[in-house]
């Protein structure tokens, strides 16, 4: 199964152009939940510094896909290679990959029993074995970058949703990951808060971080994405630079989807 013929348009010209600096390599990945086929033959190469937005209807497998990239879900067929390490059952390997991959969840998933600062320092101290002082300094740096240094001593429960999501981003950044995964980072937020978070993400994108982002914020996609990927029914239907994606989608399903969300 590993030498699958490329049946879809996912490996577009762009990715092959940047293939020499590939940091994520996904090849013929299939996944099932019981008998339910969630991911069907996913192929994707992400280059260093590339910024990819994934969109698609609910239940199309977007979350599942990016969760496979840091092995929060196991794929059952195909290969995923992240930063040169293939994801297999090897726990060491997985832990190594996870260190390099930051993830921001839709519901923040901050640790409510720790302060914002402690949230940010936890992994650097226990995983990277960085001295606490140093870890705290780094954390403060990132908290400043997401513009909430004054909340450092508070507990997550005391912050607004937008602030919490910014802490979640800072927490991931503190591990200095090579890749950031975002799973609908703004969909649990009030309209006012969305902007705060998007601003931070745009800034991050501009600094050249490799990013995979599941989102329906089309404004964001237009501004920062190198490529927009459209998934449906567990397949990658279309993959194109944003200009082309929004103005001239190739597939019919993409067209109907775009009509729906842009109209809304």
């Amino acid at each position: 199964m590993t030498d699958q013929t490329p049946t879809n348009t996912a490996r577009s010209t762009l990715s092959s152009a940047k293939a020499d600096t590939t940091i994520i390599h996904v090849e013929g990945v299939h996944k099932w939940y019981g008998g339910f086929h969630v991911l069907k033959d996913i192929n994707l190469d992400v280059a260093h510094g590339e910024r990819i937005v994934i969109c698609g209807p609910s239940g199309s497998g977007k979350s599942t896909f990016i969760r496979c990239i840091n092995r929060l879900e196991e794929h059952q067929q195909g290969r995923i290679v992240v930063d040169g390490a293939e994801l297999t059952d090897d726990i060491r390997q997985i832990d190594n990959v996870r260190r390099e991959v930051g993830m921001v969840f839709q519901h923040f998933n901050l640790f409510p029993h720790l302060t914002v600062l402690e949230n940010c320092c936890l992994a650097p101290i226990w995983v990277r074995k960085i001295p606490r002082k140093e870890a705290e300094a780094t954390a403060m740096e990132y908290l400043e970058r997401v513009k909430i240094p004054d909340q450092a001593k508070k507990y997550p429960g005391q912050l607004s949703g937008g602030q919490q999501q910014r802490v979640a981003i800072a927490r991931s950044l503190c591990m200095k990951p090579k890749i950031m995964l975002f799973d609908e980072p703004t969909s649990a937020l009030d309209p006012e808060m969305i902007k705060e978070v998007l601003d931070v993400m745009v800034e991050l994108a501009e600094s050249g971080m490799t990013m995979l982002c599941v989102t329906h914020e089309m404004g964001f996609a237009k501004t920062v994405a190198d490529r927009v990927i459209f998934m449906d029914g567990g397949e990658i239907i279309e993959s194109a630079p944003p200009e082309q994606f929004f103005t001239n989608p190739q597939e019919e399903r993409t067209q109907t989807f775009l009509k729906q969300i842009l109209h809304h």
Binding site: D95, G102, N109, L122, G157
Partner: protein, 395 residues
């Protein structure tokens, strides 16, 4: 503006419609009711006791008890007073409750975690344990353990013996009783030094971690210090410790420390029974921590063990504490079942023998209930303090 306000109904509420007045009346009625009830109760009791020639007052506490008690943490003779039997019983209750709480907590946590084990056999066995132990009355379990323990132990003459120092038979487990000789002060000093240096080590390790990021294996090193230093001192000063070794004289062993089978059986039964409840509490506590938390921790690269220790358990604790408190209270109350197997706890000694000898039921029962109330309130208080400390800070 004023013309609109003129046709308005008056602002004053009728007294019977005013919630403040209503609640005041309710409360006054309640106070009056309770006071009247309390007063008639006391009055009746006094009148009844007077009419039946029952002696009242706490004078009996001074009188000589005249009966023996098999186990006492404080010196007790048959010639001591009834008041002293109260303390003997109380201390025995506290002893078995304290031991029970510790064992039940440890066991309960273990089984609770085992219930979620990836080993199918372990998980199912924990489930079987919980479902069997939880659903059988404690009284029966106490009988079971008592007679199971007794029947399987040899008589004193056939005691199981360990190095001539420890003896196990159906009268109990006998240990040598240490008696400090003059040089023993050095050993105590060494222990103090060991404790101090462990504290210092911990502080140093924390500082070093903050400075350089290296994590020092404080746990193992502390243990080593705590053991070796006193042992060295002990050997260096020529083992200045004497032991009263239990020896078989007549029917039984004398000397040394004895752990009687009643204590052991009650302890085992209480611990196993309560542990089955604690296990369920722990399990649901762990499950109550949302999957997102584990995922977030794993996504940060924290390993399974660290995830449990740093993220899951601290959050589970706050779900666990309140029901855990109730279990502790239950354990203390259940220790009163001791009376069924002859363990001399408060209910058995004081509300049993003493009550029977003196006949002063009202005083004795009131004292006993007061003790349980105090213990319960104390436990609740301590657990609430802890709970407040681990409570989540919210907006």
């Amino acid at each position: 503006m004023s013309e609109t306000t003129s046709q308005i109904t008056p602002a004053r509420a009728k007294p019977w419609n005013d919630p403040r007045v209503r609640s005041l009346v309710f409360q006054l009625v309640a106070i009056a009711g309770v006071m009247w009830g309390g007063w008639t109760l006391v009055d009746n009791t006094l009148a009844n006791m007077e009419a039946r020639g029952i002696s009242t007052g706490f004078g009996f506490l001074e009188q000589s008890a005249g009966f023996g008690i098999i186990m006492s943490l404080i010196p007790y003779e048959a010639t001591d007073s009834y008041g002293r039997t109260f303390w003997v019983g109380l201390l025995n209750t506290l002893l078995v409750s304290g031991l029970g709480i510790v064992a039940a907590t440890l066991l309960g946590f273990m089984i609770g975690v085992a219930r979620l084990s990836s080993n199918w056999l372990i998980a199912k066995l924990s489930l079987a344990y919980i479902e069997i132990i939880r659903n059988i009355p404690l009284l029966l379990q106490i009988f079971f353990w008592y007679f199971a323990v007794l029947r399987n132990l040899p008589s004193p003459r056939q005691s199981v013996e360990l190095g001539g120092l420890f003896f196990l038979n159906n009268r109990g487990f006998y240990l040598p009783d240490p008696i400090a000789l003059p040089g023993f002060g050095w050993v105590e000093l060494a222990l103090a030094i060991a404790i101090a240096s462990v504290i210092a080590l911990r502080i140093w390790a924390k500082r070093r971690q903050q400075a350089t990021g290296q994590i020092f294996p404080t746990g193992k090193v502390s243990l080593a210090i705590l053991v070796t230093l006193p042992v060295l001192a002990f050997l260096a000063t020529g083992a200045p410790l004497d032991w009263t070794v239990p020896e078989l004289r007549g029917f039984n062993f004398r000397g040394g420390i004895t752990i009687i089978p009643e204590l052991a059986a009650l302890w085992v039964a209480l611990s196993l029974y309560t542990a089955s409840f604690i296990a369920e509490i722990v399990r649901s506590g762990i499950l109550s921590v949302s999957k997102g938390q584990t995922e977030a921790a794993r996504a940060l690269g924290l390993r399974q063990g660290l995830t449990l220790r740093l993220v899951v358990i601290p959050q589970a604790m706050r779900v666990i504490i309140p029901p855990l408190t109730s279990q502790y209270l239950n354990l203390v109350k259940n220790s009163s079942l001791a009376t069924a197997i002859g363990y001399p706890d408060l209910v058995s000694v004081f509300m049993g023998t003493t009550l029977n000898q003196t006949g002063q039921a009202v005083e004795v029962v009131a004292m006993t209930m007061a003790v349980y109330l105090t213990i319960s309130l104390l436990i609740s208080f301590v657990m609430n303090l802890y709970n407040r400390a681990v409570a989540l800070k919210e907006r």
